[in-house]
Each structure stands twice: as C-alpha cells, then as structure tokens.
Amino acid sequence: MSEITLVEAVTQALAYELAHDQDVLVFGEDVGANGGVFRATEGLQKRFGSDRVFDTPLAESMIAGMAVGMAAEGLKPVAEIQFLGFIYSAFDHIVSHAARLRNRTRGRLSCPMVIRAPYGCGIHAPEHHSESTEALFAHIPGLRVVMPSSPTRAYGLLLAAIRDPDPVIFLEPTRIYRKIKQNVPDDGQALPLDRCFLLREGSDVTLVSWGAMLTETMAAAHTLETQGISAEVIDVATLKPLDMDSIIQSVEKTGRCVIIHEAARTCGIGAEIAAQLAEKALTSLIAPIQRVTGFDTIVPLYKMEHLYLPSEARILTAVHEVMAFE
C-alpha cells in the first residue's frame, strides 16, 4: 500500500464518504473540474458526477447558507471555503444558523454539515491566505472545530466530521499538505472527535499543539531529548469540544506546560487551555504556563512570515525557561 500526503488523505476520506453515503455532497469554488486549488477534490467530480461534486458561484455566504438549507433537509453537505481568510462573509451563517438550528427548533431540524478550509501560513501566498483563526469558531456554542496534523488523522477525523450529526469546521494545514506521507488504509475507520492524541510520552514538560505547528513542536521535542529534557507531546486535534482531561492528566504528571499555536496570541485557544489549567491543575504546576504563539499582528506578507510563525527556537526558549523556573 502506497503512502499518501495529508491533502490526498482528505481526498480519500471525501471519496470514501461519497461512495458510501448518497446524502454526501461536496461543493465550493473550483472543487469540480479543477479539483480544488490545492487538488483536495481531485477526480471526485469525474468519479461521482456533477450532481454530487460541484462548483458554486463565488459567494461564501451563499456556500454556508446553502449548506444549512441542505443539511436541514437531511443531506450531508461538505462545503469548501477556498481559504480560511475568505470565511468571514460566511461567518453569519455559521454562527447564526449552522450552530443554532438544532437548538432553535428543539431538535426538529439539525445541521449535519462540514465546512472545510485550508489554513495557515508558510506557502508564499498573497494576503488573507495565511490565517489561523480557529479560536473564532471555538468560541461559538454549537460548533465543532477540528484541525488534523497528519494524513492519518486527516482521514479519520474528516470521516468523523462528515458523519457527525452537527456542524463541524474542519481546518486543513496548507503548510503540511504535502510534507508528510503516511500509509493510510482506506478502511472507512473514523477517529474520535472529542479526544486528544498523545504523540510522544515524556516526563518533564507537556507540549500542547495542533495542526501544522506540530511539525515544529515535534522537532523541538526531539532536540529537547538530546538536551536531556523529556517532553510529552499532545495533538489536541479536536479543539471544540476540548479534551482537557487528557491535557490535565499530562500536566499533572510533568508539572510543566508549554502551549504552541500559530494563531494570534490574545484569546487564542492557548488562552483557554492555560485558563483551565490555572483553574483545575494549579497545584500541579511547578512553573508558569508558557504560550508560544503567533504575534498579535497581521500575518505578514511572505517575505516576513517566518518572523511571525513560532519557530522551533522560540519553543525551545520557552521550554528552557519553564525548566529553569523555581
């Protein structure tokens, strides 16, 4: 069995669900003949027909609002927003309707829909193609938010997202779309949508991250090992609902926590994790919690985006500070 990239794992998951559930439809800008600007839907229109996989006019509010209507009628729309930076005009339908339809109608109507969007910087793209604003969605009751960090998890989590009876925001890390290859059996096995994944066991410090930043985080963990520091690494994967139990359990063991995310710092999901640790694991903390995050700045155009993105060096500095604290 050949190995596939993260973006190919997305395609594989979409194809699996399209083949197994007639209610699944895939649509968005350029997802048809073109197979998506990142080729995430490559070949799907040819294989499943343009009734099931189709291009929409250029209108993000429409894409989300239409998905709400389809989902209420019992379909399982999987809509693509071409880049996360273009999701804001769809925000109203996500926040005001997708997240609320079940609650609004006391369960009479519901919204089993997925919105997929590529996110993150590092691909030398123009402005608005580099954002990582998952926290905006994590703040909204009624949504689920998922960010895979590997081909295996992209496949399993996307299957779970499509099958979930409620709306899921599924954010795909462009920076590692083609970076890692894994053997991902096309077995239709979903992964749980409410659990962290332990990527690496360790005893001195817990590194918590998600999505593309796990590349730098794992690299840092390896470097730390050579320095005699044993880092545990947690891939949060599903950001809403947040599996704090697993994080707390780890921090209770290590006593130290560094949270790494690409998003702007203020009110990022790192804040929520740190706050919950301060509430529920305060006495286990040997050192202050550290967050290594994107700055509270606009993501710079590509010549300077490396300055924005948390580097392995910045992670190491934070861990060293945490280890030195007394």
């Binding site: 509010s61 239409m66 109203d92 009624g142 409620d166």
Partner: protein, 364 residues
Amino acid sequence: MSLQSSIVAEFAITYMRFLDADGQLTQDLPESLNNPELLRKLYEYMVLNRTFDAKAVALQRTGKMGTYPSSGGQEAIGVGVGAAMQQGDVLVPYYRDHGAHLVRGGKIEEIYLLWGGDERGSDFATLKQDFPVAVPIASQCLHAVGVAKAIQYRKQTRAVVTFIGDGGTSKGDFYEAINLAGVCKLPVLFVINNNQWAISVPLSEQTLCKTLAQKGIAAGVPGEQVDGNDVLAVYEATRNALKKIRAGEGPYIIEALTYRMCDHTTADDAKRYQPPEDVETYKKEDPILRLRTYLASQKLWDEEQEKALYAQVKHTVAQAVHAYESIPAQPPTAIFDYLYATLPHDLIEQRDVLLASLGENHHE
C-alpha cells in the same frame, strides 16, 4: 455625434391585480379563482390572521409576551401565498408571514410561544420541514436555496417558498440566493413583502429601484409585481409561479406591494416617522375589507356568516392563548439539551454548574 450601440438584452416588469381598493374586479377572474370555497377560505384565514395578531400585540402590552412583529394589514400576502402552496412544499419564512404558517395548518400557539421567548415555538407540531422564523434579515433566502438544492438533487417535485421584506432585498444574501437559484434553476419562489418601510427607513432611502421585482434581472430570474393587498392576485401569482417551478422552469420572484399599517414591532412607534397621510390612504386599501366587499357583492358572504366567523375565530384564538399560557416551563437543562445531538463532556460539567446554582431540587 451619438455612438452606435446595439441592444443585447431587454426586460420588462409587470403589475397585476384583480380587486381594486373598493373590492371591484379589475379583470375577469381566472378559472382557479372561480371557486367560492377558496375565496371564503382566503377570507377566513385573513380574519384569523388579523385576530390572532391583535391578540399577540395585546399579550405583549400586558407583559405576557416579548417583542412581537405584527402582520396587521398585510394578511393578504402570507395567506395568499400559503394557500397556494402544497403540504409537502417547504416554507422558509421571515417574521411577518404568520398567515402562511396558519393557512398551512401551523398552530397559533407556536407563534405565541416563539415571541413569548420559548424555543418550543419553533418545534412545529405539523409542519415538520418548514423553517423557523429567520431573525437575521435575508439569511432565510440562502437556506431556501439550500433546501431547493436538496429537493432538486433528490428529483422531487416539491417547491420552496421564502419571504423577505423590502429592506431585506438590500442585503447581499438576497442577491446571492437569487443568483444561485437562477444558475441552478432551483425550485424556489421568492416573495417580497414590499410594505415600503424597513422599520423607519422608507423604500426611497433603501434603493433607487422602481420595482423590487426587477432585482431578479440581476440574476436572470423572472418576476412580477402584484397588488399585495389583493389576496386574489397574490394567490394567483403564487399558483402560477409554483406550477412553473414544479415543471422545472426554475425560480421566480413575486413582489407584493403593500404598506406597513402597524408599528414595525411592539417595540416600535411608527408615528415617529410614517406620514399620517400615507396611513390614511392605505387604510382604504385594506385587504380584508376589500375581499369582503367583493364576496358580498357576489352573494358569497353575508352578515350572518361574518358573525359566525368572528365568533369562531375568537374561540380559536382564545384556545391558542390558553394552550400558550398553560404549557409548563422547559426544564433548566433544556438550554444544554439541544445544542448537539449528544452533549460533549465539557458541557456536562457546565450543566452541573447550572444545576448546582439552582439548588438541590433541580438536580436530576
């Protein structure tokens, strides 16, 4: 010197009515309206609409309901459109089409519940596929095209009907919806309630358009304007549109021209901005009076029927008020119970906080 240009596209918008303000026919009625039973039904539901609506305003004034948007004076639109729909069709309303809900068999107390601050008002007992009221203006139009897309995908012959106000047609969602409906030839009818006001903003400050039906031209979607105080025109235009839509001819727009004779909602005071002359003028255009005059002229309605109808409607509304007032409160945990199909673990904790804050007797 004038430049030479060739005409590459031409359009026209038409206006239709059957009954004028005095209840006189302006043209012969078509087959479909030569139906005394139907005409009486339209009349009865308009009266029910007005009566239940006045009661809603009264309930609000006496603190028994929250802010409420009246449909007083615009009954012809909701009732006329709703009566022309079939049961399996999907209604995707805004907040001023109560008549459509009623004539489709929806319960009055559902409307009271909703505006009484209770989510169960949107858990319709009978109209299982109809959408709840959309509060964010124009958003419903996109849900309607989504529903229509699902119906088209499943090759069903159901139709979708969505309503929007004149103010709502300024919002991008309306336009994105008609554009998608056009290009996908979706089975959806857009009904514009042009009551000439968006709260305090008059139509003349809303758009430079002469008609709102012409907005369809931007999407290649045909449409027409009808007298929105003439329930017969509204009904007939809807019936014709739905026939075409079911035949696969694609979407349609009906602009129903009327005037908002009531406050925007019970939280509003229209006297602050509506010119009293206008209100006087449009009083004479009342849709109920107009149809009654016509029915009486045709000997299809008399004083006795009128009395019986009002007695019955009063009873129906009283029953609905009773049903509304006697429904037990939702349990506190209801604020968690419908968020997701299954409550995620982090919310179980929060639900417990709520229960704890309420003291022992609320524990499960």
